[in-house]
């Protein structure tokens, strides 16, 4: 089972990458009460029948790894959202793409911790593939608000091959500095 909110996001984004999408948008909005994530892709989408089946932890399309018969990303997420009275929606159209949106109330005692946003975003952006990804991240607290946007293609053009350790470390430094600005707002509150 996943340990943090970021783990759920990694799983859902990986589904989007593996759907053959050319564009994935990830919206991660956090405020005092909740964290809401929306992942939209223009990949292969799902038929109504598949959409009903993806909530079953023992269902898979059997294509990714022939012979391995479990797909746990969405069932894990639904289970975790249900446990904290959060929200989950799945909208998909075959041939058009999929949108997965969910919200976790942060003050619920069973809400998982946020997790490491920096390593999550770095791993999402660096997952192999030719897709573009736009990440929009925002934090809105009484102490202030801020946010940032990451565009995969812009970063690849600037840094080069995301498969190299040196490049990934520069990406990590960049994302870290963006996230540190949000941490400053968090620290102002305490």
């Amino acid at each position: 089972m996943h340990a943090s909110l970021c783990d759920f996001l990694s799983d859902i984004v990986q589904n989007a990458i593996e759907s053959g999408a050319s564009l994935i948008t990830v919206d991660m909005r956090e405020d005092e009460r909740s964290i809401a994530c929306t992942v939209t892709d223009n990949g292969k989408g799902m038929s109504d029948e598949v959409q009903r089946k993806v909530t079953d932890p023992f269902y898979t399309d059997g294509i990714k790894h022939k012979g391995r018969t479990v797909g746990l990303g969405i069932p894990f997420l639904i289970q975790a959202v249900d446990a904290v009275d959060g929200e989950f929606t799945l909208k998909s159209q075959e041939g058009k793409g999929t949108t997965v949106a969910y919200r976790f109330p942060l003050q619920h005692i069973d809400c998982p911790p946020l997790g490491n946003v920096v390593s999550t975003l770095v791993s999402m952006l660096a997952f192999p593939g030719t897709y573009d990804m736009v990440v929009t991240r925002s934090l809105e607290l009484p102490a202030g608000c801020d946010g940032y946007e990451l565009e995969r293609q812009v970063l690849i053009e600037l840094l080069g091959d995301f498969a190299l350790g040196g490049t990934l470390n520069m990406l990590r430094t960049y994302v870290q500095s963006q996230e540190a600005a949000l941490d400053e707002i968090r620290n102002r509150r305490t």
């Binding site: 089972m1 799983d11 990986q14 790894h65």
Partner: protein
């Protein structure tokens, strides 16, 4: 810490590039492939990715390839990491954490010595077939 701009990132890249050109390229052609399937994520694969990047940075190994893949079929020993290094057999390490990642970089990648306690397998047939992606 002020937010880094894209211009500052560009400057960082340029300064790193000139640094790299001055050094011998250690670790070139080595590939580290981290299992980032649901099982890997749940077991802490992102911490492992982070640890590898930190170790590569600490040892100035800029040219080691670090990529991610899905489940390698060894869910019971996640996080799993495959290491392909010139002159060494392909190895899948299991139960990798930050300390093991450090040992893999320092022993396997830099000294050509396997971290025996964590060797679990060679790549499964379908991973080889798909090129490990």
């Amino acid at each position: 810490m002020a937010k880094m701009t894209l211009e500052e990132l560009r400057k960082l890249r340029d300064s790193k590039k000139s640094e790299i050109q001055k050094r011998d390229i250690a670790g070139k052609d080595t590939q580290i492939i981290i299992g980032m399937g649901t099982c890997g994520i749940a077991a802490g694969a992102k911490v492992v990715l982070d640890a590898f990047l930190q170790e590569l940075d600490a040892h100035n190994l800029e040219h080691v390839s670090v990529t991610q893949t899905g489940c390698m079929g060894l869910c019971y020993v996640e996080p799993t990491v495959e290491v392909l290094s010139p002159g060494m057999p392909p190895v899948i390490y299991g139960k990798v954490d930050a300390a093991v990642a450090k040992a893999i970089i320092e022993d396997h990648v830099m000294r050509g010595k396997m971290v025996s306690d964590h060797v679990f397998d060679r790549p499964s047939a379908d991973i080889i077939k798909d090129g490990g992606k």
